[in-house]
């Protein structure tokens, strides 16, 4: 087994090592090469701007020669690079892989499909490309001797990046939050969200939201958005307040340990997807919860 890791991080290098055999890393700068030194048998350095998917894919397609599997992270840019490279190489690409094994020239991998309502077990012939879902391969890649090589290529891109705008990044790291209080259309105006922030504060958690709050009403920046096209979260407690529970939202919270929900509509679908549901007007119960929990924590 020979695996090439592109955009390497420790999780990917570990995932590659679980397949056995040789692990190589493709990086796009000297600095990245240093970061993975001692974690891959071979480090290939391509002097390419990795933000340009066509140029990066050219490097991947060239570097992939002789490898059984190309592994990448499940970022939007990496998936784009993966799609381009896979088509050039004439191979299949599996994205957001949860688990995988390689045997007898076949890669068997699992991934969520159908709005995260099913798991697909997919078998593709090697060579293949795969992107790995975050948080699924936790471990240290073994220490090895690394040989560094330059990948000779004259990259061409027809894309031009005219500007880059950073998204406002507050202290919100929902993917890492242990407790999330999430808000939806049950809140009648923007100022009322303050209640949710207070509840999150007394719980030591962060505030998430459903699609309408971030995308339509724009009451909160997109970094708070939980769901299929927002963040996928895995807190120990997800408390959905005034969220009806559309499938796209549920798809983002599947990995939560406990889901609790507050909604005044007893037929809201969120109750079918929650461990504990409270049928109540959030405007009545949230202040009580803030009060009780702060007392609990205080004494």
């Amino acid at each position: 087994m020979k695996t090439l890791v592109v955009f390497p991080n420790m999780e990917l290098l570990y995932a590659a090592s679980t397949l056995g055999g040789e692990v190589a890393a493709l990086v796009f700068s000297q600095k990245e090469a240093e970061a993975v030194s001692g974690k891959a048998h071979k480090i290939l350095v391509a002097e390419v701007d990795p933000r340009l998917p066509d140029a990066a894919a050219e490097a991947v397609a060239k570097a992939a020669a002789g490898y059984d599997l190309v592994l990448m992270p499940s970022t939007k840019n990496a998936k784009t690079v993966g799609g381009l490279a896979a088509q050039k190489l004439g191979v299949e690409l599996l994205v957001d892989v949860l688990s995988m094994r390689a045997e007898g020239g076949v890669l068997t991998a699992e991934r969520y499909v159908f709005g995260n309502k099913a798991v697909a077990a997919v078998q593709v012939p090697l060579p293949a490309v795969a992107t790995v879902a975050p948080g699924r391969f936790q471990g240290e890649p073994p220490a090895v001797q690394s040989a560094v090589e330059k990948l000779a290529l004259a990259p061409t891109s027809r894309l031009k990046i005219a500007a880059v705008e950073e998204k406002s990044r507050g202290a919100v790291r929902l993917e890492e939050a242990e407790i999330i209080v999430s808000v939806g259309r049950g809140f009648k105006k923007k100022e009322d969200l303050q209640m949710a922030f207070e509840l999150a504060k007394v719980l030591g958690g962060q505030v998430g939201c459903s699609r309408p709050i971030a995308a339509d009403l724009k009451w909160l920046p997109e970094e708070h958005w939980v769901g299929l096209s927002g963040k996928k979260v895995k807190p120990k407690l997800y408390l959905a307040v005034g969220i009806s529970g559309q499938p796209q939202h549920i798809a983002g919270i599947l990995d939560s340990r406990i889901i609790a929900a507050i909604n005044n509509d007893p037929s809201a679908p969120i109750f079918q997807n929650a461990d504990y549901g409270v049928v109540e007007d959030l405007y009545k119960i949230v202040p009580i919860l803030i009060n009780k929990i702060s007392k609990l924590k205080g004494g």
């Binding site: 939007k76 998936k79 784009t80 109750f271 929650a274």
Partner: protein
């Protein structure tokens, strides 16, 4: 500008038929939601030229699903596309994205489009790889995850929405662009438009018609994901009592 819009006749994940496995054959098809945004963008940009819907049927059985797929395409035609191409072939009824992209690229060449628009991902499989693959197959540049799009002087300029930042990216035409839901508000067709769509052509093609062959060695099995939630619903008592009960449960679970 001639535009090809990729339309997935996707499994309706809200109506999955489930026994031991997901019964794909019995699950109805619908338009992949984000493709409506791609159709809307195409209708806005096409000007005097035509905009074509392009679909590769991925879910069988062929005869049954072809009819459903045509109904899905009528929706896109009612939104303003001029004509649709439906590639229906037994050899494409599988999980191979490599084969799908080859078929799509062949149709794009056939209609002579200058721009391919697609949704950022499809609602059933949600891989988002087809736009990039089609671009690679055609040898065109690709811009993925566009939340704004302009076409000027033979170039596309898009705001590409990534995890931590937005890039303003330019590419020369012909090009492939995948769009997010934020790019526009898809129109709801009028009754008149729905009637007119009944007369618009839907051209059915096989791989042989396109002059290509595909060999696929891929298999996929779909198991329903059963997540056992406790579904304890607290609905009796005063708000005070309900709050107390919720806190008790959460403390017993050790999460607060």
């Amino acid at each position: 500008m001639k535009i090809a819009v990729l339309i997935k006749t996707a499994l309706d994940t809200g109506q999955l038929r489930v026994r031991d496995a997901v019964v794909v054959e019995e699950t109805p098809l619908k338009i992949s939601d984000i493709d409506r945004n791609a159709v809307e963008e195409a209708v806005k940009l096409k000007g005097q030229d035509k905009a074509y819907g392009v679909t590769v049927l991925k879910w069988g059985p062929l005869q049954k699903k072809v009819q459903e797929a045509e109904n899905v395409l009528r929706e896109a035609l009612a939104m303003g596309l001029d004509e649709a191409y439906l590639v229906a072939d037994e050899k494409l009824l599988n999980a191979s994205h490599l084969a799908t992209a080859k078929a799509i690229a062949a149709v794009v060449k056939k209609v002579g489009a200058d721009l391919v628009l697609a949704g950022e991902a499809t609602v059933d499989n949600y891989t988002g790889q087809i736009p990039a693959r089609v671009a690679a197959e055609l040898g065109w540049p690709v811009i993925t995850y566009a939340r704004e799009l302009k076409v000027e002087g033979g170039r596309v300029v898009a705001r590409r929405d990534l995890e931590d930042h937005v890039e303003v990216v330019e590419a020369p035409l012909p090009a492939v662009v995948s769009v997010t839901r934020e790019i526009n508000q898809p129109r709801i067709p009028t009754l008149l438009a729905i009637r007119a769509a009944m007369k618009k052509p839907i051209n059915r093609l096989t791989l042989a018609d396109l002059g290509i062959g595909v060999e696929t060695k891929i298999s996929a099995a779909y198991k329903p994901l059963v997540i056992q939630r406790k579904k304890v619903v607290i609905k009796d008592g005063t708000p005070e009592e309900k709050a107390e009960k919720l806190i008790q449960h959460l403390r017993q679970e050790g999460v607060i």
